[in-house]
C-alpha cells in the first residue's frame, strides 16, 4: 500500500501495547502459552482433562475457551506451577483446538440465499478445511516445526520427524486431501489449506451471485465432498507412521460451537457414538441450543455414558467462591501485592449470611450495632416490615440474645432483604402515593467479598474485568485495604451497565410486520420486565420474608419471550437452576427454573439470593396488572444510572 499523505495519518506501533484496563479478557485472542501464563485451574479442569468425550457447557465468559486451550501441547509446555506437572502426566493425548468463527456462521447462516443447496455444502467444506488446518497445526507442534515464541521447558508429547519423512507425509496429505501443495512441508500443507479457504470464499460469492441472477449452479470441486472425520483419520495415521510413533489418542477441541451452523453442531454432538475410537471429542457450548434435542433421541449419546457433561455456571453462588479466591490470590501476586484473604481486601458484604461469622460476631447483632440499626430504620420506614416483626414477636433490641434459636437464624436471613429495602424503597409517608424507589443515589451495597464474588458468578472474564478495575482505581487512589466500598460498588455498576448494553445489542429478528404490531421486544426488554417484577416483589411491595426471586418458564409463556430468554441464558443474563437430577444442557427452557444473574439483579436493586420460584407468566402478569414498571425511576439504580 502506498500512502501519500502526511496529514491525518494515525501512527500505529508494531507492538500494540494495550493499557491493562482495556486488555482483552477473552482467551480467544490469546496464544496457548499466553493463556498458560496466568492460568488458575478450577476443579472442572481435571474432569475436562480426562481422556473422555466431554461437553463443556457455560455462558459467555465462563472460561470454556481457556479450559480447552490449556489442553494443547504449547500451553502444557509453557505452564509452570504446582498443578502443571499433574496436568502433563494426566493428558496423554494430542489436542487439536478448532475455534468457531462468528463470521463463518453468518456467511452460511444468514446472508446467503436460502434456496441454494451449494451453501450448506460449502459451509461443510469450510468447516472441514478449518479442522484439517488445525490438525496440521498440531502436527507441526508435535514435530517442533513451529516458530516458538518461548523456550519450552516442559516438553510434552514431542515427536521426531526427519526432513524426508516430512516431505513424504506432506505428499500423502496433499494427495488425500486434494491439495495443490507447492512446497512439500507441513508449512506448505498449512498454506495450501489457507488458500483453500480463500477458494471456498470465492465459490460462495459466485454461488450467491448466480443464485441472485437465477443462473444454474456451477459444479463444485471434488474437495467440497471431503468429510472431516475420514480426512482427519487418514491424516493422523499418516503422521504417526511418518513420525514412527505408536497409535495414540487425539482430542478434537471444538470451541464456541454455539456459533457454528446448526448442521455441524448436530453432527458433532452425535459424533461420540460413531467416530473412530482414537478420537476424543471435547465440545464447548452455550447452555441452550434447540439442536441439543438430538441428545434426547434413544440412540443419542447419553450424558454420563458416552460423554461427560461439565457445567461452568454456578446456580448457587457459594459454589464459585473457591475459584474466585484462587483467582484473587493469583491477581494479587501478579501485582506484587500481599496475598491476604478476600475479606481483608474488600471487607464483608452486607449480603453475607455466613453463620460462622454470625456466631463469632455475636455483637454484630447487638442493640447498637450497624445491622440492628438497619433493621430499626426499615421498621420505621416500612409498615409491612413492622407488622411482620410484631406478628413474630421479634424485638429488635434483643436480636443478639437468641443466637442459637431458629428465630434468630430467620432474622439473620432477612438481612439482604432489609438492606435493599432500606436502600431503594421510599418511606411509607404517603399512603396514596404509589411506592417508588428512594430518591437518593444507590449506596455502596454491592461491595464486600461475598457481593463481588456473587456478582461475577464464578465467571473468570467478569472477575478479571471487575476486580482488575477495582485494583486499578484503588491503586490510583493510593493502595490500601480494605478497598473503599464506593470504588468497589462503582466497578460493579460499570460492569452491570456494560452487561445491559450487551443484552440490548444481541440481535433479534424484527421485521416490518413485527413493528406494526407494536414495539418489538429484545433480550433486554424481557430481562427488564423480570427485573422490575422481582423488584416489586422484593423491594417496593409489602414485606415478604420469603419472596419470589426465581422463575419457571411455564406453558403459558409466549414463544417469543422464551426465545429471547434462550439468548439471555447463553449470554449469562439468566442462570439455569437445575433440579438435583436435572439436565445440564437444554434444548427447551419450558419447565425449567432460572434466576437473574446477580450482575443483572444489581441493576434492579435486588439482592444476590436464590429465592423461591414463581411461574414466568404469573410473574410478568404482576406488571401488567399494576403498571408498576412506570412507577419506578430506573435511573437511580446501579448499573443503569
Amino acid at each position: 500500500m502506498g500512502c501519500g499523505v502526511s496529514h491525518g495519518v494515525v501512527i500505529v506501533s508494531a507492538a500494540f501495547e494495550l493499557p491493562s484496563q482495556f486488555e482483552t479478557f477473552n482467551a480467544r485472542s490469546l496464544r496457548p502459552d499466553e493463556v498458560a501464563r496466568t492460568f488458575v485451574p478450577p476443579e472442572h479442569f481435571w474432569t475436562i482433562a480426562k481422556p473422555s468425550h466431554t461437553m463443556i457447557v457455560g455462558p459467555r465468559g465462563s472460561g470454556k475457551t481457556t479450559l480447552l486451550k490449556m489442553l494443547q501441547q504449547p500451553a502444557l509446555e509453557a505452564w509452570h506451577g504446582e498443578d502443571a506437572g499433574r496436568a502433563r502426566r494426566q493428558i496423554g493425548y494430542t489436542s487439536v483446538f478448532i475455534p468457531t468463527d462468528r463470521s463463518w456462521q453468518i456467511r452460511f447462516g444468514g446472508v446467503g440465499p436460502a434456496n441454494s443447496d451449494a451453501f450448506p455444502r460449502l459451509g461443510q467444506a469450510a468447516f472441514s478445511t478449518h479442522v484439517l488446518r488445525a490438525l496440521v497445526g498440531a502436527f507441526r507442534h508435535r514435530s517442533g516445526r513451529t516458530v516458538d515464541l518461548m523456550i519450552h521447558r516442559f516438553p510434552h508429547r514431542r515427536a521426531q520427524l526427519s526432513g524426508k519423512a516430512e516431505r513424504e507425509l506432506s505428499s500423502t496429505l496433499a494427495g488425500a486431501w486434494r491439495l495443490p501443495v507447492s512446497v512439500p512441508t507441513l508449512a506448505g500443507v498449512h498454506l495450501a489449506l489457507t488458500e483453500r479457504l480463500m477458494e471456498i470464499r470465492m465459490l460462495a460469492l459466485q454461488v450467491e451471485d448466480r443464485t441472485r441472477h437465477q443462473l444454474p449452479a456451477t459444479e463444485l470441486p471434488e474437495f467440497v465432498y471431503l468429510t472431516f472425520v475420514e480426512a482427519a483419520v487418514l491424516g493422523v495415521e499418516a503422521f504417526e507412521t511418518a513420525a514412527n510413533v505408536g497409535s495414540g489418542k487425539w482430542a478434537m477441541l471444538f470451541d464456541e460451537l454455539e456459533l457454528a451452523p446448526a448442521a455441524i453442531r448436530t453432527e458433532l454432538i452425535s459424533a461420540p457414538r460413531s467416530v473412530d475410537d482414537r478420537f476424543i471429542f471435547k465440545l464447548s457450548l452455550s447452555p441452550f441450543s434447540k439442536e441439543l434435542g438430538a441428545l434426547e433421541r434413544p440412540d443419542a449419546p447419553a450424558p454420563g455414558h458416552d460423554f461427560v457433561s461439565v457445567q461452568l455456571s454456578y446456580p448457587r453462588k457459594e459454589d464459585g467462591y473457591g475459584f474466585c479466591r484462587a483467582l484473587l490470590s493469583q491477581m494479587l501476586r501478579a501485582r506484587n501485592l500481599s496475598d491476604v484473604p478476600a475479606e481483608e481486601v474488600f471487607g464483608r458484604s452486607v449480603f453475607s449470611t455466613d453463620p460462622v461469622a454470625y456466631r463469632k460476631g455475636k455483637s454484630a447483632y447487638g442493640p447498637d450495632s450497624a445491622i440492628t440499626r438497619d433493621y430499626k430504620e426499615l421498621s420505621r420506614r416500612d409498615e409491612s416490615f413492622r407488622v411482620y416483626l410484631d406478628e413474630r414477636g421479634i424485638d429488635l433490641n434483643n436480636l443478639h440474645e437468641g443466637s442459637h434459636s431458629q428465630r434468630a437464624a430467620e432474622v439473620r436471613k432477612l438481612r439482604a432483604l432489609v438492606a435493599v429495602r432500606n436502600a431503594f424503597r421510599r418511606a411509607d409517608t404517603d399512603e396514596h402515593k404509589p411506592q417508588r424507589l428512594r430518591s437518593r443515589k444507590a449506596p455502596a451495597l454491592y461491595a464486600g467479598a461475598d457481593a463481588l464474588f456473587a456478582a461475577v458468578e464464578g465467571n473468570p472474564r467478569l472477575f478479571i474485568g471487575i476486580i482488575g478495575g477495582i485494583f486499578d482505581a484503588a491503586t490510583g487512589a493510593g493502595w490500601r485495604y480494605p478497598i473503599s466500598r464506593p470504588i468497589q460498588s462503582r466497578e460493579v455498576e460499570r460492569a452491570s451497565h456494560r452487561f445491559l448494553a450487551l443484552l440490548r445489542t444481541i440481535p433479534v429478528i424484527s421485521d416490518e410486520g413485527a413493528f406494526q404490531q407494536g414495539r418489538p421486544k429484545g433480550v433486554l426488554d424481557v430481562i427488564r420486565n423480570i427485573g422490575e417484577a422481582f423488584r416489586k416483589e422484593i423491594v417496593s411491595g409489602p414485606f415478604d420474608p420469603e419472596p419470589f426471586g426465581s422463575f419457571t418458564v411455564d406453558s403459558h409463556s409466549a414463544e417469543t419471550t422464551v426465545d429471547l430468554l434462550g439468548l439471555a441464558l447463553n449470554s449469562g443474563g439468566i442462570v439455569y437452576v437445575p433440579d438435583p437430577d436435572g439436565a445440564e444442557v437444554l434444548s427447551s427452557l419450558r419447565g425449567k427454573r432460572f434466576r437473574l444473574s446477580y450482575l443483572v439483579a444489581a441493576a434492579y436493586g435486588l439482592p444476590p439470593r436464590l429465592d423461591k420460584a414463581v411461574s414466568l407468566s404469573r410473574l410478568l402478569s404482576t406488571l401488567e396488572h399494576s403498571g408498576a414498571s412506570g412507577d419506578v425511576d430506573v435511573q437511580r439504580l446501579p448499573g443503569i444510572n
Partner: protein, 322 residues
C-alpha cells in the same frame, strides 16, 4: 477541505482516493440519489444533478413518511428515474441492472458517477460502493457526496438491535486468519450506549473509536453524553477525532490505522454515526478485503424516522480504480 486537495491515497487493491471539492467540474454521466424521507435527500441533486446525463433515485419501500412524497415529486420533475425496490436482493438487482446498462452505453469511455450518500442506508451504500469500485466495467470515477444536516436532537433510542452482522456478504471477513485476535474500530453516534454494546458483543482484543466533530457544535456534547460510559477511562490515544467536513482526512486516518493493524489483527469496522465515516469504512474494507469486515448495527426499520434538513454544504470524495 482545501487542506487536502493536493493529496491522494492509493491502496493495495488499486483504489485511488482524492478529496472532492465544490468547484470540481461535474459533467456526470450518472447521478444516483436516495429517495427517502429526509429533507436533505434532494439537496445534492439540486446542486449537482443538473449536469448529469442520466439520473436515478432509488426509493425505499418502507417508511414513506415525512418528506418522502415531496422528494419523490421533485425527483420526477427533475428528470430522475425513480426506482423503488425492497432492501436486499430486489434493490441489488435493480441497481446492478441500471449500472450495467450505463456501463454498456459508455463503451470504452471512462464514465463519471455521482452518488449522494446522505440518505442511503448503510446496506445500500455498501452494495453501490462495492459494485461501482469492484465489479463495474470501465473503471468509473465516482464522486461520493454528503450533505451534512442541521442539528436534530437524539431520540430516546431503546429499541432492540435487529442487525449486528457484516453489512453485506462481500464485506464479511473470511476466517482465513481466525487465529488472529479481533480489533474493533467503531464510529460513535449519538445512540445511547450502542457503541458500548458493540464493544461488549464483539469482545475485541483492542478497540479504537472514531469521534465525529464538525460544523455543527451541538452534536459533540450529545455524542459524548451517549457514549459516556464507554469513553470513561478509555485510552485517549485510541479516540480519534474526525471532522465531518473533511472526509478525505477521515479516510486517510482510518486507512492508516487499519494498515497498521491488519497484519496482527482481524479488524472489524462498525460505522455508527454519520455517513462519511460509513463511506470511509467501506472504502477501507474494500481495500483490505477479505481481511477486514464492515458491520452494520442497527434497529433496522424499527427505528423512528427523523427528519434531517441540509445544513447547506456539500463534502465528498472522488474514488476510482487504478
Amino acid at each position: 477541505m482545501s487542506t487536502f486537495k493536493d493529496f491522494r491515497v492509493s491502496t493495495d487493491m488499486g483504489l485511488s482516493v482524492n478529496p472532492w471539492t465544490v468547484g470540481a467540474k461535474a459533467g456526470y454521466d450518472l447521478m444516483i440519489a436516495a429517495l427517502g424521507y429526509e429533507e436533505r435527500a434532494t439537496f445534492a441533486a439540486k446542486q449537482l444533478g443538473y449536469s448529469a446525463s442520466r439520473k436515478i433515485a432509488f426509493g425505499f419501500m418502507h417508511r414513506q413518511v415525512l418528506h418522502f412524497k415531496e422528494n419523490m415529486d421533485w425527483f420526477f420533475k427533475a428528470g430522475f428515474e425513480v426506482i423503488e425496490a425492497k432492501d436486499g436482493e430486489e434493490f441489488e438487482l435493480a441497481a446492478e441492472a441500471a449500472l450495467k446498462s450505463q456501463s454498456r452505453a459508455a463503451g470504452d469511455r471512462q464514465i463519471r458517477v455521482c452518488v449522494d450518500i446522505s440518505s442511503f442506508s448503510r446496506q445500500r451504500l455498501a452494495f453501490l460502493t462495492s459494485f461501482l469500485l469492484r465489479h463495474m466495467e470501465g473503471k468509473p470515477i465516482v464522486d461520493f457526496i454528503y450533505a451534512p444536516s442541521t442539528f436534530a436532537p437524539p431520540q430516546e433510542d431503546d429499541l432492540p438491535i435487529s442487525y449486528c452482522e457484516p453489512v453485506t456478504s462481500e464485506f464479511g471477513a473470511w476466517p482465513v486468519g481466525s487465529d488472529l485476535p479481533t480489533a474493533l474500530i467503531c464510529g460513535l453516534g449519538y445512540e445511547r450506549d450502542r457503541a458500548l454494546g458493540v464493544d461488549e458483543y464483539l469482545d475485541a482484543a483492542g478497540s479504537w473509536l472514531f469521534f465525529p466533530t464538525g460544523p455543527i457544535p451541538e452534536f459533540v456534547p450529545e455524542v459524548r453524553k451517549a457514549n459516556a460510559e464507554l469513553l470513561e477511562g478509555f485510552p485517549l490515544d485510541r479516540v480519534i477525532y474526525y471532522d465531518l467536513a473533511t472526509p478525505f482526512a477521515t479516510f486517510a486516518r482510518l486507512q492508516s490505522l487499519v494498515s497498521g493493524l491488519v497484519d496482527n489483527y482481524r479488524p472489524v469496522l462498525v460505522p455508527l454515526g454519520p455517513k462519511p465515516f460509513a463511506l470511509a469504512t467501506l472504502l477501507v474494507g474494500l481495500a483490505h478485503s477479505p481481511h477486514v469486515s464492515v458491520w452494520r448495527v442497527s434497529a433496522g426499520q424499527t427505528e423512528e424516522p427523523v427528519d434531517r434538513p441540509p445544513q447547506g454544504d456539500l463534502v465528498g470524495l472522488t474514488v476510482s480504480r487504478e
